[in-house]
């Protein structure tokens, strides 16, 4: 096979993360063009088209990846050169910050990419029957296409920004699928919780990208890996690791995943069973050269991985529904993978990841059938566990991760929001003269004013005209004594309120942030 031909094929094939996106757009256009179905027959008639687009795109992606796989194996056997990364152009650039559109085809991305596409294909094929006549059939296929595109970006990306694009696309599609049954409040509330938690984790990714671009000079994986400046590497690694831990729901960031099972079973299979929950681990394997420079962070990974594995294992033992049990079993496996990464066995983690993806997807997809066929109640937890009441309770409560995140993150922010609103309503609005509801307008001044208008501007004008009037008629002193007293009393009131406010813990957050803003 000539090298030119090989390059041409690779170049064409490297649009593959975009193929599912195009399919998603296609399903959307197909939906946009049609009115809501009026009869069941009509809806039935429409279902195959959406499924066919999604399945076709996924099959195409899988075939392309298999072709590249074949070329890669061939290069090992016949010894010709196969480029490991394909540069397709510039995604965008701003001055010195250049972000190329570059994909990587190496021994890490090809096996994982093949399995991702394969799992997506069988899941979609399964959903075609499973979701038949469900509301939102087309929506499901569209969202899974977006998700597949996101995962392909994560797996094949040649730099951190492209991986981040995929990371977020996966996050958005996960939001849409957890909230798939949008008429149920729990589903949508959990979707929102999962999305916002993931956004907070993504902040780490953003920081890592910024550090790489500014201090390392590029976001390519090899550039990040080959940088040898302890502080920079450490900060970048910390950012990536935070994002990875949140995405793979490791302890103590795993609260969101316990609430994420609201989506239809196939989506649980593909997101939390097989694919998305492994994205964080994949990222860490990808960053192997970077992590090896930060040994203390790797020790932290071992610790977090083992804690996650043990806690999830205990939790899994006490679950009474099959999806939750599988989910926590999955988490305990990802914890082990994380620990393997921490010990430096990245290839072992990769092998574990690939095997686990396939096996877990199969288990998740089989779960509804097992329930339908067996009809047995869930087995009771092991005797040694139920005999230790404290441990059993803790496992049943999922080690209070959920309440912890509520107390640590959600509550302070909602309180801050309320403060911001009251600040606005009580001070800023009255200074700037926002119109009040009629009942609240104070009785007009006894003097018939020349100008009457709300707010500082209005009051200024009003005061000005009054004083001019007063000056014009005669110089007169107004009761200064009482005025001054009133001002002091008012100021005292405000100071007392300010003191009360500072005692609240959430202001600690503000103070800490303020310190950061000032010193950095």
């Amino acid at each position: 096979m000539s090298t030119e031909l090989l390059h041409a094929v690779l170049h064409t094939a490297s649009v593959l993360p975009l193929i599912p996106l195009v399919a998603a757009a296609g399903i959307a256009v197909q939906q946009l063009g049609s009115q809501p179905a009026t009869s069941l027959a009509e809806a039935d008639h429409r279902e195959p088209a959406a499924a066919r687009i999604a399945l076709g795109a996924t099959a195409l992606v899988l075939i392309l990846i298999l072709l590249i796989d074949a070329a890669a194996i061939g290069s090992l056997i016949f010894g010709y050169h196969l480029p490991s990364s394909i540069l397709l152009g510039t995604f965008f650039s701003s001055g010195d910050h250049v972000i190329p559109y570059v994909l990587t085809f190496d021994s890490l991305s090809l096996p994982v990419g093949t399995i991702v596409a394969f799992v997506a294909l069988i899941t979609l094929r399964f959903s075609r029957q499973y979701l038949h006549r469900e509301a939102g059939f087309q929506r499901f296929f569209m969202v899974v296409c977006i998700f597949l595109s996101g995962m392909l970006f994560v797996v094949f990306s040649g730099n951190a920004v492209l991986a981040f694009i995929g990371w977020e696309l996966a996050g958005v599609s996960s939001y849409l699928l957890i909230g798939f049954a949008y008429e149920r409040h729990t589903a949508t509330r959990n979707a929102q919780f999962a999305f916002v938690t993931n956004r907070i984790g993504d902040a780490g990714f953003m920081v890592a990208i910024a550090i790489s671009l500014i201090y390392i000079g590029g976001v390519g994986w090899h550039e990040i890996g080959q940088h040898h400046e302890a502080l920079i590497s450490r900060l970048a690694a910390l950012g990536f690791v935070t994002a990875a831990l949140v995405k793979s729901a490791q302890w103590p960031f795993g609260a969101w995943i316990g609430r994420a099972l609201e989506g239809p079973t196939p989506s649980s299979a593909i997101f939390y069973g097989a694919v998305m929950v492994h994205a964080g681990i994949f990222l860490l394997i990808r960053l192997e050269p970077l992590l090896l420079q930060v040994p203390d962070l790797m020790i932290l990974l071992i610790f977090i991985g083992l804690v996650t594995a043990v806690l999830s294992w205990l939790t899994a033992l006490t679950q009474t529904d099959i999806k939750s049990a599988l989910l926590f079993a999955t988490l305990s496996q990802t914890g082990l993978m994380l620990a393997a990464c921490g010990f430096g066995f990245f290839r072992l983690a990769l092998a574990h990841l690939c095997a686990h993806m396939l096996w877990r997807a199969y288990q998740f997809l089989r779960a509804p059938a097992i329930l339908a066929l067996s009809g047995r109640p869930a087995p009771p937890p092991a005797a040694w566990l139920s005999s230790r009441a404290w441990l059993h309770t803790a496992a049943l409560q999922r080690f209070w991760i959920d309440s912890l995140s509520q107390i640590a993150v959600m509550r302070p922010f909602s309180q801050l929001a309320r403060d911001a609103r009251s600040l606005e309503e009580r001070f800023i609005a009255s200074i700037s003269g926002a119109p009040q509801a009629p009942a609240l307008i104070p009785s007009p001044a006894p003097l018939d004013p020349l100008i009457q208008s709300p707010g500082t501007v209005g009051r200024l004008l009003y005061a000005l005209s009054n004083h001019l009037l007063a000056l014009e008629s005669r110089l007169a002193l107004q009761g200064g004594d009482t005025q001054a007293r009133r001002i002091f009393l008012l100021a005292g009131d405000y100071f007392r309120q300010a003191e009360n406010l500072i005692e609240h813990p959430r202001y600690l957050i503000i103070l800490v942030m303020l310190t950061f803003v000032v010193i950095l």
């Binding site: 701003s94 953003m206 309320r418 926002a434 119109p435 950095l520």
Partner: protein, 488 residues
């Protein structure tokens, strides 16, 4: 192409809506909608011709139309664009065109309303291409008048008159420092007074004068931007105004544009000295806006506070005074015209159907109006800077710039972005998800054909530039380089 270059395209662009407005007032009311649409589409075509003849390799002003306007007092009519302003012309045109297509009511006062909108249209375009201090100020104040009447007469809220009064009083007051700064600049030009922006740029002031000019302009433009704590008019207007006016006021950030065009390049030393002030106000607004948005119960107020948060992020980006900062900011400002504008138009369409934007009275809108729900979500995600939408490259660039200059404020950006995302999703969930049992949800219809087309056009543009952001970067590259070079 050759013919296009000889035409005074910018003058045509600015004058077209004025002529359209006059014709609207003269002709019978049933032609109003038609005229507005013709003006919108023609303007869009002219703005595309501007893009066609614009040379992105040139950093300085191009397509200059210059004429002595009032010979007695030496006032010139000078229009021109550079890479920073040129893309705002099609953005303005698309937004106004969308408003013309969506606000179609056959009331007897429709011609007056349409004519006022067109006056607003012309003034906004004038602000983006004026190259003369007096002309800029004239357009700046001219934009206030139609806003006042449109809100006070056709607004949606019960307090629309008070809101409009607050708005115009605030903005007129804000005009005083701007005028003072302009007069100071003009008086310092060699060879007598000159209001030519190019003269102003060529002859920098002394340092203390720069400080005065910068502070005056910051105060004056600060209301319009809006900077924290001068922002209160925005949520008030959001609650009381019409969707169309709001889409324009919140979508086209002419305040920040004026900061970019005038305040910083005309007082570069002062701006560099006072970077902490700009960054501090940006950080405060970013966090405050996001937190306040989270506490709202009304979609419009939430959008207004998110808008404050977003625009503060842009100000923070500008305050880093590096290339990434200015490029990201211009990109993000362009995004807002479609994202904020699109959101306000969609929420306005929701209000037209249900009579409310209070989330407590809504719920389950996605069931009845799947298309509206999809587009609102798409625009909302774009506002959060999700990759795949044009919000992402802009936000990433701004974040890089802020991280380079004020690393601590960059952490605040991340916190603010997460809170703003929570605010949007929380109100979106309450309004659009859940069972459709609210009385407001009886018999509502999904987006009709024009609304769907407008939303689709906005959505396609947002996704397109999310996938190919380099097109925007190439267009603004030369002028932004020049902008940064001026600060050195």
């Amino acid at each position: 192409m050759d013919i296009l270059i000889t035409l005074p395209l910018l003058t045509m662009l600015v004058v077209l809506p004025i002529i359209g407005g006059l014709i609207t007032l003269l002709l019978p009311a049933r032609l109003t909608t038609l005229i507005a649409r013709v003006v919108g589409v023609l303007g869009l075509l002219i703005s595309f011709s501007v893009l066609a003849v614009f040379d992105p390799g040139l950093g300085s002003f191009q397509l200059i139309d210059e004429a002595l306007w009032m010979p007695g007092i030496q006032i010139y009519f000078r229009l021109g664009v550079d890479g920073i302003s040129v893309l705002f012309l099609p953005a303005t045109q698309i937004l106004f065109c969308a408003v013309y297509f969506l606000e179609r009511e056959d009331k007897p006062d429709a011609p007056l309303r349409s004519a006022l909108l067109m006056l607003f249209h012309a003034a906004t375009l004038g602000i983006f291409c004026a190259l003369d201090g007096v002309l800029f100020f004239m357009f700046w104040e001219l934009a206030l008048l139609p806003t006042y009447f449109l809100v006070s007469r056709w607004g949606l809220g019960a307090l629309r008159r008070e809101a409009a009064t607050q708005y115009i009083l605030t903005m007129l007051l804000a005009g005083i420092p701007i005028m003072a700064a302009f007069l100071l600049l003009a008086s310092q030009m060699p060879g007598g007074s000159s209001f030519d922006l190019r003269d102003w740029l060529a002859h920098p002031l002394s340092r203390p004068q720069q400080t005065v000019v910068f502070l005056l302009m910051l105060l004056g433009f600060g209301f319009k931007i809006p900077l924290f704590p001068l922002h209160n008019w925005l949520p008030v207007m959001a609650n009381e105004g019409t969707a169309g006016v709001l889409a324009i006021v919140a979508g086209l950030k002419i305040g920040v544009f004026a900061l970019l065009r005038l305040a910083i390049p005309l007082a570069p030393q002062a701006a560099l000295d006072l970077h902490w002030l700009l960054a501090g106000l940006g950080t405060a607004g970013l966090l405050f806006g996001a937190a306040a948005a989270l506490a709202q119960t009304n979609l419009r107020s939430m959008l207004a506070y998110s808008s404050l948060s977003h625009v503060s992020m842009v100000v923070l980006g500008i305050a880093s005074f590096n290339l990434a900062g200015i490029q990201g900011s211009v990109f993000q400002l362009l995004n807002f015209s479609l994202i904020s504008g699109g959101l306000f138009l969609m929420i306005g369409a929701l209000h037209r159907r249900t009579g409310t934007n209070e989330v407590g009275q809504l719920g389950g809108a996605a069931k009845r109006m799947p298309w509206m729900a999809s587009f609102v979500l798409l625009f909302g995600l774009a506002g959060m800077g999700i990759p795949g939408t044009s919000g992402f490259p802009a936000e990433l660039t701004i974040f890089l710039a802020v991280f380079t200059k004020h690393a601590g404020a960059a952490l605040a950006v991340l916190v603010g972005a997460a809170v703003a995302a929570a605010a949007f999703l929380s109100l979106y969930r309450q309004a659009f998800f859940g069972p459709a049992i609210a009385p407001a949800m009886n018999d509502v219809l999904d987006l009709d054909r024009p609304e769907r087309s407008v939303a689709l056009v906005f959505g396609v543009i947002i996704v397109f530039f999310g996938l190919f952001p380099q097109i925007i970067m190439d267009a603004i590259n030369a002028s932004t380089h020049l902008w940064v070079a001026r600060l050195r």
